[in-house]
Subunit: 229 residues, 2 copies
DNA sequence: GAAATCATTTGCCAAATGGCAAAAAAGGGG
DNA sequence: CCCCTTTTTTGCCATTTGGCAAATGATTTC
């Protein structure tokens, strides 16, 4: 549908696990570390607490499995064909998930913004090669769990499985709800409702990515913007 | 996008829980009942066994919570605005899930075919009114669990939560994978790949429903079909 | 099996979107 | 501040899709 101009898609995966920046220890520890912990993990903790209540001990167990990861604009978090054994949570920035359609055009499947999970479940759950790329559109900060660490929580945190089920089903339902109107609404409506629902993403996403997400070419999107003015 | 002709959409919900047709008892029971059990539940049992192994006792516990439900063509299984506390599994037939877009056109969000679950998770999990209609396109046979029965299994079947997580995440991932190409491919490609992937649905779905699923009008779909011939 | 109803196709023309290339605008680095 | 690169807009025209209404085909009902 849309042919995209080449972007500065640096495929070298310069990202590295930037050594855990979590200096948190148990509550008995000194105050400074607790502050760091709260600062680093607060959004994540708030996020999971939506889905069920957890004791401080359980939150500790979970946090101890987390590492942080920083990506610079245009860096890839995951490349199609590779198996991803990481479960991520996006603290800052915007990422996009893309794949290649039948015309070899790179299509933006969806965007991920702050305080949402970033994971290729097909790959993570079944150790299958990913069908999609995941790329930072802006500089990003994530919290990342290894598959081992994530699954280890099954044994140590009671109700973890139920919590994970809720997290995942909310995230996947959200994807379906976001994509569905892209099929049934006209292009102008699609653009306007994107701007309305995600105003803070709008300014940070290159139009070429947005156009492919909306299912139109970049020039069509540009013309739509003109007509609206 | 597409304006649909009016269908014979009988809104009276003639469907009724047709009194459990499951005559199954524990394996120590007479042979006839066991046959009934196998015949009625086999597809369902096979389905859940994909996601983890279960003992005969666990399968019994699960089966005892199931009822069967038959719907005739055009009957509604769920109507938008109502809260759905049922978890279904489609044994025979095809259903469609639809909603109203911003132009009040009824859009087919997706089809459900044999051996797949039928549930509005948003409604089921959170007791919220459903945003979608679910309607039988052909005569249908389902297995249905009440929310109470379904959740009761949490206490009696070890690992039930994990199994449910896998069932749900597979079903939701499938939805996303099916919808995504509807945004990125041209209409002819969308139609052709639908025919290729779901040949046995093709003959059983009215074109108007298929057109709205594909994001085009019925007349456009008709013209596309003509061009292919 | 004739009438009525429903589903699909088609004609005609308008509107929306695509393809390509060039121009304009915006941004980044020295 | 200027040059270079990237991003966005625009012009021109072809192609696709939509809207509407009528015609055709299929199915049901009595």
């Amino acid at each position: 549908m849309s042919k995209l101009p080449t972007h500065n898609t640096n495929l070298r995966h310069r990202a590295r696990h930037s050594g855990s920046k979590i200096h948190y220890s148990s509550p008995s520890c000194c105050r400074g570390s607790l502050y760091d912990y709260l600062a680093t993990m607060k959004a994540w903790i708030d996020y999971i607490l939506q889905f069920g209540s957890l004791s401080q001990e359980q939150l500790d167990l979970i946090s101890q499995k987390a590492t942080t990861l920083e990506l610079r604009k245009d860096e890839y978090y995951l490349q199609a064909g590779k198996i991803s054994r990481r479960f991520g949570f996006l603290m800052e920035g915007i990422m996009r998930v893309s794949y290649y359609n039948s015309k070899e055009e790179e299509i933006t499947k969806y965007f991920v913004d702050e305080n949402n999970i970033v994971v290729d479940l097909q790959s993570f759950d079944n150790d299958q090669p990913s069908a999609a790329n995941v790329q930072a559109i802006t500089d990003c900060k994530l919290i990342v769990f290894s598959k081992q660490g994530w699954e280890g929580l099954l044994g140590t945190v009671t109700g973890w499985d139920q919590l994970v089920r809720k997290i995942i089903s909310k995230a996947l339902l959200q994807k379906v709800e976001r994509i569905s109107p892209l099929v049934s609404e006209d292009a102008t409506t699609r653009y306007l409702s994107f701007m309305e629902k995600y105003p803070n993403m709008a300014n940070r996403i290159p139009l070429s990515y947005l156009a492919s997400y909306l299912g139109i070419t970049q020039s069509s999107l540009s013309r739509i913007r003109k007509n609206i003015r």
